[in-house]
Amino acid sequence: MGYPHPPHPKETVVLSKHFGDAEARTFEGWVTRGGYEGLKKALGMTPEQIIEEVKASGLRGRGGAGFPTGLKWSFVPKNDGKPHYLVCNADESEPGTFKDREIMRWTPHGLIEGVAIAAYAIGSERAYIYIRGEFTEPWRIMSAAVEEAYRHGALGGNVFGTGKRIDITLHRGAGAYICGEETALLNSIEGKRGNPRIKPPFPAIAGLFGMPTAVNNVETLAAVPHIILRGAAWYTGLCLGNPKSTGTKLVSICGHVQRPGNYEVTLGTPLKEILYDMAGGPRPGRRIKAVIPGGSSVPILTAEEADATIFDYEGVVAAGSMLGSAGMIVMDDTTDMVYQIMRLARFYAHESCAQCTQCREGTAWSTRILERILAGNGKPEDLELLLDLADNMTGKTICVLSDSCAAPIVSGIKKFRGEFEAYLKKLRQPALVAV
């Protein structure tokens, strides 16, 4: 539901059903609400059966990449005699995204259940949940929930009396956006700088501590107990015409809307309904100018493009952007697009791990060029220079951080070129002071 707002009739409430209900946080509260039934059922199935069920559900990664979850698990070798690891990516740091935070704050046991099922499915006895360092409250709530789960036999050496071992360790990040990239995250758990690794090998073959590993997002794992309990057919039934995009998605909406929050929708819902019906549309007297639909790393849509978008993996691509994490940033006509694109570039420059030249130099120089445009010192060739830089930052590095920096710059110049030119032609007062 649209926490912190009441549920909207057009939402499909599955993961967010207990948002705002503090009693659901405790083990007993969770059990009273039907919790841990999914894990108990899963423990009676074989790992192969679980993987097949999740494959059949069509569940895709909710962190941004949209990779089929069951397929990812099936890549982890079987009976290879090595320890396997399940890693939950709770490093939610993508600007515009704040859904995993609410899952951990309100339904910690739902996440524990999902992690435990996934761990069992890939033959892992030890799972790590990597929580970003700034999430102090979710950390406290998750810590308490893990402790409770151990006390009630939902974790440990004999999970619910089945003789199966599943241990969960929470691992705290320390302020690095890049650790949301799965291989950087693995390095961070290993006690290293969070530099992404070259793939292949993929984590399924050589991941954490060099062992077969599956890395899944919080929201993805939170959906798993529901799928196991209610069946793949129920999940594929949550679909509005596109069989490649099934189930529900939490959409975080922020920026210039009347009711920012998390709304849970069936994939395939028109973006317009989320933006106007659920989030209430623009503030009174204002008009929406731009929408970044999937977290700051995806191309910017104009209001007209956003209005025509079907909100699922394929629909947002067809509109010229990506579903990403479904962190939707809404900007109205008061927004200085050049300034906000500079802020995004600055974000990526700050967060670059600096191992690839194209990213280290590209993000920093893009920021500086945008800053000089804003300071009224832009040169006529600056927009072409930015686009040329962006081209060198796309598809040429170990991870996609520099691509993510290029996305808002390229789409911003393409769609809001007039705003950039107003600074270049000195038709607009400088927004920054030249130093």
């Binding site: 990040g173 302020g175 922020c254 920012p260 940033i329 500086r368 800053e371 804003l374 030249a434 130093v435």
Partner: protein, 186 residues
Amino acid sequence: MSDTVGAPRGPQRGASAHGGHGTEADAAYQPVFVGETRAKLEKLFEQYPTKQACLLPALWMVQEQRGWISERAIGEVAEVLGLTPAYVKGVVTFYTMYHTHPVGRHFIQVCTTSPCNICGAEDVVKAFLQHTGCGELGATSADGRFTVIEVECLGACGFATPVLIDDDFHESVTPEGVPALLQRYK
């Protein structure tokens, strides 16, 4: 491009007027990993196949006790985990939440990334700088009470502007709300 550098920015996080890493006299250093803290770390060793994996947790333990991570503390962590001090320092400086210099008694982090920026986050920063007496980003107030910094996305964009004060997460902070909020931190 030195003639066209744009936005004025405060000192980098953890920087000091003197530059370099914070130091303290050898004689004054009391080890962190003794007694209960040592036991806590030993317990963590059981949850990872390598001691190195306990590096981030160990650094957190140091910062919780001492407020920052000094060169001497880095040496101690290295010794406890069987790593070199240079390696540990490389990791400490990668992660922005570890302080390599002492900071104010209360550490204030204000999100100013785009989603909060368009909702007025920069005015919230100004209010904190004014009411804490810090004056500029990264500086500590004369009474040692506060340090204010801007941070990139705190992951609570629907509750602009989120502010992290020590371990307390505050949502929907406005410039007007700043004085009352600061009253809670002595």
